[in-house]
């Protein structure tokens, strides 16, 4: 009997998208999908070790009060699991070391970058080397964006894709690498699977196609293994054709939304290589 794929979506302290992320995981074929409040993890009643696919959903952890996901990252790093010496961050590092999958969307992406989980060059998953900061426009924006896919990226989620169309909904989505050397390294290693693009999928720095002024039009980043992936656009927001802003005028749109492809790739990868 094939073993089941177990996905977890962490909720609480300001996550907002846990329900639709869980829905996407289910549609993609994960057999177990649990939305788990962070209090359950901190109480030690649920352990990350029991899952294969960790989802960090969009939202406003702690209101993004100290900068997006900053306070959330601080909690994960310093909060102890009850009745143990372990921090939640330790479970997370073990999860990564075990070759499992982590996807962070929007606030989840900001959280991963600020904890050092992305882009995580040289096997260092604990030091922040890039950031996501305020959109050049200085404002929150809800808008759909075309995303060009790098076919040579090791990213397991974007395998086989050429371009996708997804909404962004953020005020702090501008990706900024720590320095030019880092940018060069992540680009040459193809760790930028997604870039903001024009409607014909050409990467662009022009607003509004590039909604936040992201350096090198970066919309998503993966680690060198391709198993850790974060992106500002919301794939869980486009899993059915009625999510598309123009579904009433584009009858040729397939039933299944483009965002679902990322989750399908994740589940397929786990089934063939991990579980």
């Amino acid at each position: 009997m094939a073993k089941e794929i177990r996905a977890i979506v962490i909720a609480g302290n300001g996550t907002n998208c846990e329900r639709e992320v869980a829905h996407a995981c289910r549609l993609a074929g994960a057999e177990v999908v649990d939305i788990v409040h962070i209090a359950e993890l901190l109480a030690g009643r649920v352990r990350l070790d029991d899952f294969h696919f960790l989802n960090l959903a969009g939202g406003f952890l702690d209101g993004d009060d100290l900068g997006s996901a900053k306070a959330g990252a601080n909690r994960l790093l310093h909060a102890r699991v009850a009745d143990s010496e372990e921090h939640l961050a330790d479970q997370l590092q073990r999860f990564v070391a075990d070759g499992k999958l982590v996807m962070g969307v929007c606030n989840g992406f900001q959280l991963m970058v600020k904890m050092g989980l992305l882009p995580a060059l040289d096997g260092n998953y604990q030091q922040q080397t890039a950031t996501l900061t305020f959109n050049d426009g200085g404002r929150f924006e809800d808008r759909w964006t075309y995303l060009a896919v790098d076919p040579d990226s090791p990213c397991v989620y974007t395998r086989g894709l050429q371009g996708i169309y997804l909404p962004v909904r953020h005020g702090e989505g501008k990706f900024v690498p720590g320095d030019d050397a880092l940018l060069e390294r992540i680009e040459s290693a193809h760790l930028v699977p997604l870039r903001y693009a024009t409607a014909d999928y050409q990467p662009t720095m022009t607003f509004p196609e590039n909604p936040n002024g992201s350096v090198a039009a970066i919309a998503g980043v993966c680690d060198p293994s391709g198993r850790l992936f974060g992106l500002m656009p919301h794939p869980e927001a486009y899993v059915h054709r009625t999510h598309h802003p123009r579904w009433t005028r584009e009858p040729e749109l397939p039933e299944e939304g483009m965002g679902l492809w990322l989750y399908r790739n994740a589940v397929e990868f786990l089934r063939s290589e991990v579980v």
């Binding site: 702690d62 209101g63 900061t133």
Partner: protein, 993 residues
């Protein structure tokens, strides 16, 4: 000694916030600065080591990639003037709260009482600024003196070693808790002084009712037995004032109205609310019979209707006008998170699914001096939009529908309507989820935030006009994250059956929430000293009536109390046992074991005397303006598209997350470039089902200047028209009314009270007539009756305004219809009749006229049309559908064309009218119940069959050439414009806001 941590961007990193502030200072104040940069300051007042503070500064407070931090030394350099803006003591500081938690995680220790982190922002201005200009920038733009204070330093005044002097805005409570008693055995004049000085907002008759209550020997005897004197305590007086406030008791809607109509017929109306609102719903439900879908109306925080067999829909819309006038950001934020508590606190609890918002402002471009204490409409606009943005986005609730209405009288008070919908299981643990009941012996448990001095007298304050002495403590700032954590907790507690009832703490604080819950059992015993406080020094009466946000009250059975409190602790939510619900018949409050309030429940809730309000309807002598036929209708159309009430609101819509929860099927922006104006929202609340809910609204205050009866009728029709346009089922839809009026009670201050009261009566009569005729039950609502500004001789009254919101069902969201034309060759039909009804229209307003011929609604006619439209939609015959409202047919044609990216060629001779009309009337009349539909040509016969025998006119077709071309009744081309130009005219006015 407190530490100051300053965090700023590293050299070379773009300061987007500073750039925006610079641009807005130019736009708001006309002051040109060379640059503005910003720094964040955390003032840490706690027992910590230097190392711990440095770790916090470089850890959670600072992004190492782009920021740098300094501790106890300045970062500011290369500037002319520094302005630091921080909160006044006691004002909610959300970032400070998060910063404090971050340090606690870092050190593993909790802060002690009185310790805290306070945030402020430094703005470094460069360019020709002196300190006086900086004072203007601080006071008129960067800060709101009600809640914030600021320091201004010139470059040479900044201590290079220490920076800006430390200022800890800690609340220092000195007053020992005391309970005063107030003698009401005084003259009438003194009674009124007591009411006025105490911000009680009680009139003489009400004060005399209190006087009589305590003077009654029977009352006196019972009070003595409890250790109270014959004088009311301040706790009792405040509780009564809150409970009897206009805000809580709706005294005007409950009053007896002595109404005389224009024919001299006199009628005594015993409660507008009971007669017209409750009355309409009762009648509609009776008519619906077995199809009645109402589950809980008027009695709870929100109305509940059936969604399907397994789920129920909850809906509520509130206003937050007075606080938004004083502090637009805080007022609006509190408005949205406040109405969210109504949704969650309905029945046994519900999950929020979307928000709606409608704002009424004066023009943000208003260019004339404003009376004292009024903020410029531009500041109101910015602050309100941002407040609702933070409230909705951070709470993870999509804002799916709304609008902005402009009229310069809203400078007196802006209207901020915030709506919310939620979903609950039809049954919970075997009982209907929309029902709840407190049991005798249940514990009173308060959850969520702590109590402070914020929001004291909010309920009584909003029951008055905005005046000189309007209190600063009436302003609160919401905290979406604390609230979100509480909601997460309450959902689990609900499903585990840990409580019997719940309600939110809104206006009137504990006094209202516990007072109302205690009606179930007939009494309570509330220990005020047990309530958790933000800081010491609150008086018992302040604890009772504070409207500090993010709090819900629950009735927890004794055997569930431990489990409830334990779950709260685990989920990091504060929950406190404050006493018990009893059947004593008394509202009983204690402080440190002493009785401080002992009020007869019956008197508290039913004792308020019924007002009698005179109303006389005298229609104004109005006439039609007799405008000359315009030379160029292209110009007229283009000018109309650029009017504030018609133009695109995209810049605001994009700031609201309208897609979180992945249920938004028809979004606020639709069409080929995702920028056309949607009529209504379609939302799918259950991700594994295609059943949907539809929400929309109608609002047309400009018609009130002619006749509020027809204003109300038009608002109802507009709400329903928008609703059916996208596919909402006209046979499963409920309404919700929000009245915002100017003071309608005849007095020295309001000499035209009889007219304003008559306007109120007429609006209510229409509400009854049309809800019954359309078969739409009202399920909840709210009124805000004192929307005036009065200081000195200046009085500004808002136009009487009713927001009519509707919520209903669509069986299959895949049948929903958007407003944009879909493909060339499609046929364009106009449904409905066009009449000479330009009174109150945008077209007349553009020419400085009001007119007389206000649009009128024939409900039976409209209902038939809407049912047929539903049928056509279900059969998939409708390619697009757009309602006609402000700007009439001309504007609807333009919007439909440019949203779809195709032209339309239309012929006005085909338009159905009752009498022959002039071309400009045909184009811009705002006759109701009209819709513009496009249909694929192959479906023509099927479509026309559905509308056989009705006013369904084929007026044109969709074209490839990208032009709007309209031919007049004489065959001449009246309008020939490129759709890009029309779109440009429509998008330009508010694009930069």
């Amino acid at each position: 000694m407190p530490w100051r941590i300053v965090v700023g961007l590293k050299d070379g990193v773009r300061d987007a916030r500073g750039e925006r502030v610079r641009a807005e200072i130019r736009r708001h104040l006309g002051i040109e600065l060379e640059s503005v940069r910003t720094l964040d300051v955390y003032t840490v007042d706690a027992e910590l080591t230097d190392d711990e503070v440095v770790a916090a500064a470089n850890g959670p407070f600072c992004d190492p990639i782009i920021q740098q931090a300094a501790v106890n030394q300045p970062l500011a350099e290369d500037f002319d003037i520094l302005i630091e803006v921080g909160f006044r003591p006691g004002v909610t500081d959300n970032v400070g709260r998060t910063a404090r938690e971050a340090i606690q995680y870092l050190t593993g220790r909790s802060f002690a009482d009185g310790e805290g982190v306070y945030t402020s922002t430094q703005y470094l201005l460069k360019g020709a600024v002196d300190k006086q200009t900086a004072e203007t920038i601080a006071g008129d733009f960067l800060a709101n003196g009600l809640i914030q204070r600021w320091t201004i330093l010139a470059a040479d005044e900044l201590d290079p070693a220490k920076g800006v002097p430390v200022n800890v805005p800690r609340v220092v409570g000195s007053a020992e808790p005391t309970v005063r008693t107030i003698s009401l055995d005084v003259s009438d004049e003194q009674l009124l002084t007591i009411s006025r000085d105490g911000m009680l907002a009680l009139n003489l008759e009400e004060m005399k009712k209190l006087q009589a209550y305590v003077a009654d020997p029977a009352t006196r005897e019972k009070r003595c037995a409890r250790g109270l004197s014959a004088e009311l305590t301040d706790v009792e007086l405040e509780a009564l004032a809150q409970t009897w406030s206009e805000h809580c008791k709706h005294k005007i809607f409950s009053a007896k109205i002595d109404y005389t109509d224009d024919n001299g017929n006199r009628q005594l109306i015993d409660s507008l609310f009971k007669t017209y609102i409750v009355g309409a719903t009762a009648r509609v439900r009776e008519n619906l019979g077995e199809r009645d879908f109402c589950l809980s109306v008027f009695k709870d925080n929100a109305g509940v209707i059936r969604f399907n067999d397994d789920w129920s829909l909850v809906f509520k819309v509130e206003t937050h006008n007075s606080p938004s006038a004083l502090d637009p950001y805080g007022g609006a934020l509190t408005g949205i998170v406040g109405v969210n508590r109504d949704g969650v606190g309905t029945g046994m609890g519900a999950r929020l699914i979307f928000n709606t918002d409608v704002f009424c402002f004066a023009s943000p471009f208003l260019d004339k001096p404003l009376p004292k204490r009024l903020l410029h409409p531009r500041r109101i606009f910015d602050g309100v939009v941002e407040g609702v943005e933070h409230g909705g986005n951070k709470s993870g609730i999509p804002t799916v529908n709304g609008s902005i209405v402009f009229d310069d009288r809203f400078a007196g008070k802006p209207l901020v309507y915030c709506g919310t919908a939620a979903i609950m299981p039809a049954e919970l643990n075997g009982r209907p989820c929309h029902e709840k009941a407190v049991q005798v012996g249940d514990h009173i448990v308060m959850t969520g935030g702590r109590i402070g001095k914020d929001g004291i007298h909010g309920a009584t304050f909003s029951s008055e006009e905005l005046h000189e002495g309007s209190p600063v403590t009436a302003v609160q700032i919401g905290d979406p994250i604390t609230q979100r954590k509480m909601f997460d907790f309450l959902t689990i507690a609900r499903d585990r059956g840990l409580y019997n009832s719940m309600t939110d703490n809104g206006a009137g604080g504990l006094s209202s929430s516990i007072g109302e819950m205690a009606e179930d059992t007939g009494g309570c015993e509330l220990h005020l000293d047990r309530a958790p406080l933000k800081y010491p020094g609150l008086q018992p009466w302040e604890i009772l009536i504070s409207e500090a946000q993010e709090r819900m009250s629950l009735a927890v059975p004794p055997d569930k109390l431990d489990e409830f409190l334990q779950l709260a602790k685990e989920m990091d939510v504060e929950a406190t046992d404050l006493g018990t619900f009893t059947d004593s018949g008394y509202f009983h409050c204690l402080y440190r074991g002493e009785t401080v309030a002992w009020l007869d429940m019956e008197f508290l809730h039913q004792g308020v005397p019924q007002m009698v309000i005179p109303a006389r309807w005298t229609p104004k002598a109005l006439r039609e303006p007799g405008l000359a036929m315009p030379q160029d209708l292209n110009l007229e159309l283009s000018a109309l598209l650029g009017r504030l009430n018609i133009c695109s609101k995209e810049s605001v819509i994009r700031r609201y997350d309208h897609e979180v929860q992945a249920g938004t099927v028809i979004k606020p922006l639709v069409g080929v470039a995702n920028d056309g104006p949607s009529d209504a929202a379609v939302f799918r609340p259950l991700l594994d089902s295609f059943e949907g809910t539809v929400v929309s609204h109608g609002i047309c205050p400009s018609y009130s200047d002619i006749d509020t009866y027809h204003m109300m009728a038009c608002a109802i029709d507009e709400g329903l028209r928008n609703y059916v346009a996208v596919g909402g089922d006209i046979e499963h839809v409920a309404g919700l009314d929000n009245f915002c009026w100017c003071d309608p009670v005849l007095s020295e201050k309001t000499p035209d009270g009889e007219y304003k009261a008559a306007q109120l009566v007429r609006a209510n009569q229409a509400l009854y007539d049309y809800c019954v005729a359309f078969g739409v039950p009202l399920i909840s609502g709210k009124d805000s009756m004192k929307n005036d500004y009065q200081i000195g001789d200046t009085k500004i009254s808002i136009p009487p305004t009713v927001l009519f919101s509707v919520i209903g069902r669509i069986e299959d969201v895949r049948r929903a219809v958007s407003m944009d034309v879909k493909r060339p060759g499609d046929l364009v039909y106009l449904l409905g009749v066009t009449r000479d009804e330009l009174g109150g229209s945008e077209y007349y307003a553009a020419h400085g006229e009001l007119g007389r011929n206000v649009p009128k609604v024939d409900a039976g006619y409209a209902l038939d049309l809407y049912k047929r439209l539903n049928r056509a939609q279900r059969q998939g015959l409708v390619a697009s559908c757009h309602d006609l409202s402000d700007g009439g047919l001309g504007v609807a044609l333009a919007e439909k064309a440019f949203a779809g990216g195709f032209g339309i060629r239309a012929d006005l001779t085909a338009v159905r009218t009752d009498v022959p009309l002039r071309d400009d009337t045909l184009l811009f009349s705002e006759s109701q119940s009209r819709l513009l539909v496009s249909v694929h040509p192959e479906l023509r016969d099927d479509f026309e069959a559905v509308f056989a025998g009705t006013d369904c006119a084929l007026i044109g077709e969709v074209t490839e050439d990208g032009r709007l071309e309209v031919t007049g009744t004489d065959g001449r081309v009246l309008i020939d414009s490129r759709i890009e130009d029309l779109k440009q005219a429509w998008q330009a006015p508010l694009r930069e806001l």
